[in-house]
């Protein structure tokens, strides 16, 4: 589509989404010694977003039994809502305004994904929990909330069967094709969220492996297909049961060009979860888009 306006992915963000981060931020603890090493990692991300001025941010996160319940649990879901309520997770809502969506593009994305045989659930209401609220609170300073519409994509990482890492990587590729086929100017940033090593239940609560976390950050940048070949058993063994949510970083990475320019990387492990932040700039490989035809 040379010369014609169309959508494009301009970059990807990686971020944790732990509720403790959002809670610390809203409690004004971001300059305390315990939290500063993490929150300083968001400053380049805020500056990058301010400079790039995306039209839309696709956030890939998981529900934590706030948007959905196990009475019916979607493997993949996206929101076409014009506005997203803040979920009450069991102790009151976070002090945030509802988050705007982009229904027109979201419906198009739903159709494009199903056309590509990604049979994703479509939601007209999607109250968002800390999986989305933590990264979004940190990506934008209060005065710029919520200038950029958000398109939430949920991946089941709570109740096996969980989609494979490869499937998530391919979902990212399908999202890229859908964005590039969109016949309007739309600069899209995609965020993959989730902690690196962590386990939040059972006697293995608190498991971490910083060496594996570091290797993961290398691989997600330079050789994501190797991570996409991993089984959930491997993720859980290396990084704890809940680190399986790293598959959501693969959705982000799959949506980017095969090679990316890393402009930011930060890592901090204060308590129970390996927190990592990255910015990958897209190098605009047209080969990926051509496959869409």
């Amino acid at each position: 589509m040379p010369g014609q306006p169309h959508g494009r992915i301009i970059g990807g963000l990686g971020s944790p989404h732990a509720p403790s981060i959002g809670a610390a931020y809203h409690a004004g603890k971001h300059e305390t010694p315990s939290w500063k090493p993490l929150f300083d990692g968001y400053k380049p991300m805020q500056a990058w977003l301010e400079q790039k001025k995306p039209d839309l941010i696709i956030v890939v996160a998981n529900d934590h039994a706030n948007t959905f319940f196990f009475d019916r649990y979607p493997t993949f879901a996206l929101s076409v809502a014009a506005e997203h309520e803040i979920a009450d997770e069991g102790w009151g809502k976070w002090p945030l305004a509802p988050i705007p969506g982009n229904p027109e593009f979201a419906w198009q994305l739903a159709h494009s994904l199903v056309d590509q045989e990604f049979d994703i659930a479509v939601c007209q209401e999607m109250p968002l929990d800390h999986g989305f609220l933590t990264p979004l609170s940190c990506f934008f300073p209060p005065e710029r909330r919520w200038a950029v519409p958000v398109l939430p994509v949920c991946v089941n990482v709570l109740q096996p069967p969980i989609p494979s890492a490869k499937r998530c990587f391919e979902l990212g590729r399908a999202i890229r094709r859908a964005v590039e086929a969109y016949p309007r100017k739309l600069d899209v940033v995609i965020a993959g969220t989730g902690g690196l090593s962590h386990q939040l239940s059972g006697e293995r609560y608190g498991f971490n492996d910083t060496a594996w976390d570091s290797e993961f950050l290398d691989l997600i940048e330079t050789d994501p297909e190797r991570i996409a070949r991993m089984t959930h058993q491997e993720f859980m063994t290396k990084g704890g049961a809940d680190s399986v949510e790293e598959i959501m970083w693969l959705v982000m990475r799959g949506a980017l060009s095969p090679k990316v320019r890393r402009v930011h990387r930060n890592y901090y492990l204060p308590m129970v979860t390996g927190f990592a932040q990255v910015i990958f700039e897209d190098l605009g490989d047209a080969a990926v888009a051509r496959k869409a035809a």
């Binding site: 315990s34 196990f70 006697e203 609560y205 308590m271």
Partner: protein
């Protein structure tokens, strides 16, 4: 399984202490070789824990939180919880709840009604005191 403790008073169901093998075959997860201290919410375990999970979800409503704090026993009975499920709640036995089939994110909602936060819940899942648990962390006050 009907979710009730069997046999004499004080006797505990097998899943609280034994390694439970779920009869599921998957290329992605080796259910025949569960990781130490790891209980995935799926299959018969998820089925068993479903009612208690649903109870935990009710804490998303402020009115339910208030009612539970005012009269937990009545709320548990009205919800139709089994005696075993009630005992897990009274004991704040978060370790057994995980083994029973309740996902951690649901347990956190229930624990909060007792004023127990996520890492305090986690310490109990590890069968440790909070002090023992926090001593294993890099930054003790990143809470």
């Amino acid at each position: 399984m009907d979710g009730k403790a069997k046999g004499e008073p004080g006797e505990r169901p097998a899943w609280e202490t034994s390694v439970e093998i779920l009869p599921i075959k998957s290329r992605l997860i080796d259910f025949a070789a569960p990781l130490h201290g790891t209980y995935l919410t799926t299959g018969s375990r998820a089925q068993r824990g479903y009612r208690l999970s649903k109870f935990c979800m009710a804490f998303m409503k402020p009115a339910f939180r208030d009612a539970f704090k005012a009269d937990a026993e009545s709320v548990m009975t009205e919800f139709g919880l089994s005696d075993y499920e009630k005992s897990l709640i009274r004991e704040q036995n978060f370790n057994a709840m995980v083994r029973y089939g309740v996902n951690a994110f649901m347990i956190f909602k229930l624990a909060n009604a007792f004023g127990v936060n996520q890492n305090q819940t986690g310490a109990k899942m590890r069968l440790q005191s909070f002090e023992e648990f926090i001593a294993t962390r890099n930054v003790k006050d990143a809470l």
